[in-house]
Structure formats: structure tokens, C-alpha cells
């Protein structure tokens, strides 16, 4: 058994096993750090940066989900620098993405004093909803690019490799090969991507149609469209 590592988080001394992340260490100490892209079942990539914390002596903030705890680290999860970044990231995300079906992120915004109107006139990522298969719909205007669907489709679970990305920077989005409809890809409709989506960008088709007021009989009769995506 390796020796425990002792560090200080928000003034509390915490002891964790070697290899533990700052996120795990903070949880051990009963300190919650907000996360968006992080998920127990997928590889952490440190994408959303809402989990940033200040480590004394470090030039920039550290993403708690991917930073390993080290002996004698002094960590602040609520410093002014941390709060400014966390709040601004949430405000920017809200300005870019439709978060109407992401209550957890909305709550996070409230908890962190993020102003939903902070970026007036900001361009939003808009896409038409993709209804191209009988199992689930894809509404990428709601996508926060947490990468979880791409990851469970690949090495994190299914090894199906139906999904990747198109574009770069603000123009990035999840995509299939040449934007083909899902039935024309390697997708096996395992549904794992739908299970890990945090914002309802991926949603069971039946649920979506019920929300539209369709009856179960009508739903069976409605066949999906097979077109490729167009960016709005």
C-alpha cells in the first residue's frame, strides 16, 4: 500500500491515495467542484474547464478533473481567479448553446452567479434537428461538445466509431463521415451516446415525438428523414 498524499484544499488538510485527481481529493474533503464534461464512465479530457482551481505557485489555473494531487499542494476552489473563469465560461457556454434542457448546468450558473444575458448579440451555434433514424434524434444546437458520445462510441465503450467532429474552434460540431445519416454509418444503435449526453442534444426519438404531442400510433407511422445535415 502506497503512502497517502497530503494536500490542502480551501484550508482543509486532505489525504488521498497517489494518482487521485484534485476533483477526487476535493470530494474526499466534502468540497464540490462543478463539472460539465467529466463523467465517471468516460476518459477525462479537461475540456469544459468549469472545474478549474487555483494551485499556489502555478502560472495558470488547473482543471481539477485531470490534475493529480501532489504532496503539499495548496489548492483554492473559490478564489477570485477561479470564480471569474468559472462564471465567464458558464456565461459564454450559455451564449453559444441552447441549454434549455440542461437543468444541471442552469443550476450551476445560478450557483456561480453567472448572468444568462452576459453576452448580448453573441452568435449562437444553430443547427436543424436531425431525425434520420428510428431510435434517436440529434439536436446539435444543444450540444456542449463534452465529447462523451464520441468517446463511448469509440474506445470508452463500444468500438463502433460512428462519430467524430467537423469544423474547428467555435465552428466545431459532432459529425458522422461526410455527415451521412446514422443508418448509413457504422452506428449499431446501442444507445450509449444518448445515455451519456448531459443536455438532451441526443434524445430517444419516441420521447421527442411524444413531446411534440404525437400519439404512439402516429409515432410508429412516422419514418425518419434520411438527408444529410445542413448547417443553419
Amino acid at each position: 500500500m502506497n503512502d497517502l498524499i497530503t494536500l490542502t484544499i480551501d484550508g482543509c488538510s486532505v489525504a488521498v491515495a497517489p494518482g487521485a485527481t484534485l476533483l477526487q481529493a476535493a470530494r474526499e474533503a466534502g468540497i464540490e467542484i462543478p463539472v460539465i464534461c467529466y463523467h465517471e464512465a468516460t476518459t477525462s479530457n479537461g475540456l469544459c474547464r468549469t472545474c478549474v482551481v487555483e494551485v499556489e505557485g502555478w502560472r495558470v489555473l488547473a482543471a481539477a478533473c485531470v490534475t493529480q494531487a501532489a504532496a503539499n499542494m495548496v489548492v483554492h476552489t473559490q478564489s477570485e481567479r477561479v470564480l471569474r473563469s468559472r462564471r465567464t465560461i458558464l456565461e459564454m457556454l450559455n451564449s453559444a448553446v441552447d441549454l434549455s434542457e440542461a437543468p444541471a448546468i442552469q443550476q450551476m450558473m445560478q450557483d456561480n452567479g453567472a448572468d444568462p444575458q452576459r453576452f448580448p448579440g453573441a452568435s449562437k451555434r444553430k443547427f436543424e434537428l436531425l431525425d434520420d433514424n428510428p431510435m434517436y434524434v440529434r439536436d446539435y444546437a444543444k450540444c456542449v461538445l463534452c465529447w462523451r458520445c464520441v468517446q463511448v462510441c469509440a474506445e470508452d465503450a463500444q468500438y463502433t466509431y460512428a462519430l467524430s467532429f467537423e469544423g474547428r474552434g467555435f465552428q466545431s460540431m459532432i459529425a458522422t463521415f461526410f455527415d451521412l445519416p446514422l443508418p448509413a454509418t457504422t452506428c449499431v444503435f446501442c444507445g450509449q451516446c444518448v445515455g451519456v449526453c448531459p443536455t438532451n442534444a441526443l434524445k430517444p426519438r419516441r420521447e421527442w415525438l411524444l413531446e411534440q404531442g404525437k400519439t404512439p400510433e402516429e409515432i410508429i407511422a412516422l419514418t425518419p428523414r434520411q438527408g444529410r445535415r445542413k448547417r443553419n
Binding site: 471569474r84 461538445l145 467524430s164 474547428r168 474552434g169
Partner: protein, 574 residues
């Protein structure tokens, strides 16, 4: 889409088959050379040949600006509109070219001959406004009729070299690559001979002793880096030359590669020997076809002469060097994104740690150095660390290449000792201001750099002095701006660059570069919204503090420096 000749294509993909995914970019480049773009069916064939999932292939095509998933014109004309060219009418050139064909940027002329593209900095800043017509670099395009530009009839711009020293640039200035014979006559490969007579540990000791610091922007001690990779467990090891030079305003590596390619090779071979790497890669940005050709030729010359290959100069050391071409992505200059690109993936930077010295290319211990850094290595080995330390400053030994551009009389690559003043560089070497209009500001270090004011002209150009002045040396960019320039437009231009080049991996930069652009657009149009200065500062500090990699962390440094120096530029709305 017309049917592809699949058997032919399959034969053409044959050479890449055994390499697997690492051959993805080369295979896509080969396909694009055949068809002019990457047809869906050809992408499928590549997937089959290399064993890469189709979605991933599309992801890669989509990541790099120089890959086209749709047909384009037979010649793609890339017109630079980044900062140095923008100051010299780049936007107007782009507009003229589009108007000539009645198309928008990114579109193709009705006859299918030309696609006109807006381009990020082409590394031809001393020849602004510049363009890349197909595979030909052209400069000062405002001096020629458009027809001549489109016909590719403008002569290739020659590197402009000057300075107080000609050490790294000793063989440069001929307007063509120095041959192996010329390189040897100037003392070339003497450093390699001496290195091979020493133990690898002694070579590393010599580099550490020289005080050489990386010239790629991060200013990391080269000897320490080499030692780290040499001592790291894991085989094989790699040495990688970062020739992706894409920082706006930077063109020094282009000069070194185009005019003295053997110097880079010699530096790499010595690095390989020192760390125990028998394989090296040079990753040359896709927009540098001339540098690529010069290096290619130099590799074959070096091979034929026994400086590369098996049992180099009878030492028992083997080394081969493979050239790779980038495909239009600034982020691939970031070392871990560059590795991903060589591995055949989207150029997403990796989390650090682990660092390249232990987990680099293909997860193996790797030394990655900038072209200019490597060009110092032969000098250090040939003449010894003590001689090297005698020039420059105590903490920044050696000479440095400075890229002067913007509103100076004689833009170019100037080699000088560390410690030279900004004033001497601007007024003595580069001939002072281009017109009567006096200096307003200097952009130092590139788009990822910071502004300096005329009051700072006596700052000494060394890592330590610049650091205490709060200025980054970056890649050696010195871009002068005269009093006629609207600094808000300059910042808008930089912001456009970062929004275009953000890889999109982490939220602060993915969204922040876009928000920064929008706010600066309003400022430049004198239509700011209530609260825009605070918004801009929050976005800037968040990118700087919370981004995953150096791109996001520096995407706002120039803007934040301007906010400190000229708060009035960001003042409230009228």
C-alpha cells in the same frame, strides 16, 4: 460525382498501407493531389487501406484548412489577410480577386479554374501583401496586375536577410538553398563530426553548458530537454523538428529552411545521437512548399554523402529523417498537437503532464525543437560551448533571428546578438519607419505577443530583459505600427486569427476566441455595447487562465496589454 478509378487509387495508396494511421495526412495529401479535393469514395478507400475508422477520416479532413471535402478550382489562391499583409492592403487584394470572378471568398470561379481563399499568415510578411498561388509563394502582389498573379507569373520572393551577425544565416541570402558542397565549405557537418567523437552524454553536457534556450516561443533550456528524453525509459525515441512556423509575423524558419536546409538537418542528427533516437521527423507547415522542397533535396544529399542513414560517418549511429507536411492549422505548431497530426489525427493538443520528453510522438520519449533552435546546435558542437557563451547576454547566449515587418522601411530577417536594443533593430537595421508617420506601437512576439510603446524602444532584446519589461520574445516578431494605424483594427485582425485557429477542444478558447472577436468588431466599428470593456477583460482573463493549451492562454495577451497601455481605446460608447 464521377466514378473514381478505384483500382488505380488502390495502387496509389499501396505505399501507405503498411504504415497505418500515421500515414493518414500523407495519404489524404496524395489523394488531393490526384483529384484536387478529397472525394467521399476516395476517403473510404483510404480508410480501408490504412485501417482508420471513416468518421475519424472525416474528422481529420475537417480539421485542416488545406483539405477540401468538396471540389475546388484547379488553382487555389490563398490571399493573406493577417496582420503584416493587412497593413499593406491584403483585404483589398482579396476583395479585388473575388470581384474579378464575381464570387465570395472561399468560392470557385465559374470556369472552375480558381478558388479564392482568405488565408492566415503565410510567413511571407517581409513581402506583404503576399499570397500562395497553388504551390507558389508570391509577394508584393499589389505591384502586379491580378492576371499576372493568377497566372503564377510573379517571381518567387527572395528571403531578405540582414543584421549585425551572420552566424545562423551565414549561408543565407542567395535566393536559393545552399548546396551540400556550399554547406561543407562553410564548415558544415563539422559539428556532427565532433559530436560523434564524443559520448551522447558529453554532447548533452555541451548543449547544457552553452545555455541554449528554445527559439520556438516557450524559451525552454534545450540541454535539459535533451537530458530528459535521453534518460526517459522507452524505445524507440524520436527527434522532431517543429517547422510549422505559423505565428503571424514570423518567417525566420522559412528563411533558414529555404536557404540553408542542411543546418537544420545537422542539428537534428546531433540531437538524435545525443538522446539515442534513430528516427527524426520534420513537420513543415503545408504553406511552405519551397522550404519542403529544399529540405527534401537536402535529405537526399545528406543520405548520399553518409550524413544520414546507416552507420553515419563510421560511428555506428543510424539516423533517418522523414518529412511531413502540415495541412493548414496553426495549432499543429503546439508540440503535442503536432504529434497528434503526425499520428494521423485531428490536431488537438494533449493534456500536460505527461511531457514530450517522456511521452511524446507515438507515446515515446521525444525531443521536439524549433528550426532555429536546431540551427544553433552545429555551431555549439563545432566551436564549443565556451565560445558560444561569449556572445549574447549571460542568460541569453548566442544570436537571434528577428522578424521585422509592418511599417518599417526594410522588412526582413535580421540576425543580431541577444542584448541588442529594439531601437537599433527598428531604426538601424530595418531602416526606420516606412513613411513620415512616426512609430505608434510595436507588436512583439507575434499575435500571441504584446504591444510595446515608443517609450520602451531602449529595451534590451534578451529573454531576461524582456521578461522584466513584461514583454514576450515569442518567436522573434517585431511588427512596427505607425501613427496612421487604428490599433482597434489591429486587435480585431489578431482576434480573427485566433477565432479561426482555435482547435475547439476546450471551452474557454473555443467560445472565448469567438466572443473576443465579436466584441472587438463592435469596438473597431465604434459601436460598443454597455459593458464591453469588462466583458472583453473577463473573456481575455478567462482564456489566459483557464485554457488547456498555449493557444488559448495567449489569445488575449495582446488585447490585455493594449487595455493596460491605452485604456482610452476601449472607452465607453459615444
Amino acid at each position: 460525382m464521377s466514378k473514381l478509378d478505384l483500382p488505380l487509387l488502390q495502387r496509389q495508396l499501396q505505399p501507405y498501407q503498411s504504415e497505418g494511421r500515421t500515414a493518414l495526412l500523407p495519404a489524404l495529401q496524395a489523394v488531393q493531389e490526384i483529384y484536387g479535393y478529397i472525394p467521399e469514395d476516395a476517403a473510404k478507400e483510404i480508410g480501408r487501406a490504412l485501417g482508420v475508422p471513416l468518421a475519424d477520416i472525416y474528422g481529420v479532413i475537417e480539421f485542416y484548412s488545406l483539405f477540401y471535402p468538396q471540389p475546388v478550382g484547379s488553382t487555389v489562391v490563398h490571399i493573406c489577410t493577417d496582420i503584416a499583409c493587412a497593413l499593406h492592403g491584403g483585404e483589398q487584394m482579396l476583395e479585388d480577386a473575388c470581384r474579378r470572378f464575381g464570387i465570395q471568398e472561399g468560392e470557385t470561379s465559374a470556369d472552375g479554374f480558381f478558388t479564392i481563399q482568405r488565408s492566415p499568415c503565410l510567413g511571407l510578411c517581409e513581402h506583404a501583401p503576399a499570397a500562395l498561388v497553388g504551390q507558389s509563394a508570391v509577394g508584393q502582389i499589389d505591384r502586379y496586375p491580378l492576371e499576372q498573379l493568377l497566372a503564377g507569373e510573379i517571381p518567387r520572393p527572395q528571403g531578405v536577410f540582414g543584421g549585425t551577425q551572420r552566424r545562423l544565416t551565414a549561408n543565407c541570402g542567395k535566393g536559393r538553398p545552399a548546396s551540400l558542397t556550399e554547406y561543407l565549405a562553410s564548415g558544415g557537418y563539422a559539428g556532427l563530426r565532433r559530436a560523434l567523437s564524443l559520448t551522447p552524454a558529453a554532447v548533452i553536457a555541451e548543449i547544457k553548458e552553452s545555455g541554449l534556450v528554445g527559439r520556438g516561443g516557450a524559451a525552454f533550456p534545450t540541454g535539459l530537454k535533451w537530458e530528459g528524453a535521453a534518460q526517459a525509459p522507452g524505445e524507440p525515441k524520436y527527434v522532431v523538428c517543429n517547422a510549422d512556423e505559423s505565428e503571424p509575423g514570423t518567417f525566420k524558419d522559412r528563411g533558414l529552411m529555404e536557404e540553408d536546409p542542411h543546418r537544420t538537418l545537422e542539428g537534428m542528427i546531433i540531437a538524435g545521437y545525443a538522446i539515442g533516437a534513430s528516427k527524426g521527423y520534420i513537420y513543415v507547415r503545408g504553406e511552405y512548399p519551397h522550404a519542403y522542397a529544399a529540405l527534401s533535396h537536402a535529405v537526399s544529399e545528406a543520405q548520399a554523402a553518409g550524413f544520414l542513414g546507416k552507420n553515419i560517418l563510421g560511428s555506428g549511429f543510424d539516423c533517418e529523417i522523414e518529412l511531413r507536411r502540415g495541412a493548414g492549422a496553426y495549432i499543429c505548431g503546439e508540440e503535442t498537437a503536432l504529434f497528434e497530426s503526425i499520428e494521423g489525427k485531428r490536431g488537438f493538443p494533449r493534456l500536460k503532464p505527461p511531457f514530450p520528453t517522456t511521452h511524446g510522438l507515438f507515446g515515446k520519449p521525444t525531443v521536439i525543437n524549433n528550426v532555429e533552435t536546431l540551427c544553433n546546435v552545429p555551431l555549439i558542437l563545432a566551436n564549443g560551448a565556451a565560445a558560444y557563451r561569449q556572445i549574447g547576454t549571460e542568460k541569453s547566449p548566442g544570436s537571434k533571428l528577428f522578424c521585422l515587418s509592418g511599417d518599417v522601411k526594410s522588412p526582413g530577417i535580421y540576425e543580431a546578438l541577444f542584448g541588442i536594443s529594439l531601437r537599433t533593430l527598428l531604426y538601424d537595421l530595418a531602416g526606420g519607419m516606412r513613411t513620415e508617420s512616426p512609430l505608434q506601437a510595436v507588436l512583439i512576439g507575434g499575435a500571441a505577443g504584446a504591444f510595446a510603446t515608443p517609450a520602451q524602444l531602449d529595451v534590451e532584446m534578451s529573454f531576461e530583459a524582456l521578461k522584466s519589461a513584461g514583454l514576450p520574445l515569442g518567436s522573434g516578431v517585431i511588427l512596427a505600427l505607425d501613427q496612421t494605424r487604428d490599433l482597434r483594427r489591429v486587435m480585431l485582425n489578431l482576434a480573427h486569427f485566433f477565432a479561426h485557429e482555435s482547435c475547439g477542444k476546450c471551452y474557454p478558447c473555443q467560445i472565448g476566441t469567438q466572443r473576443q472577436l465579436e466584441i472587438l468588431e463592435r469596438l473597431a466599428d465604434a459601436k460598443p455595447l454597455q459593458g464591453d470593456p469588462e466583458r472583453l477583460a473577463d473573456v481575455g482573463w478567462t482564456m489566459s487562465d483557464a485554457s488547456l493549451c498555449g493557444l488559448g492562454q495567449t489569445a488575449a495577451t495582446a488585447v490585455l496589454s493594449a487595455m493596460r497601455i491605452w485604456p482610452e481605446l476601449f472607452g465607453a460608447s459615444q
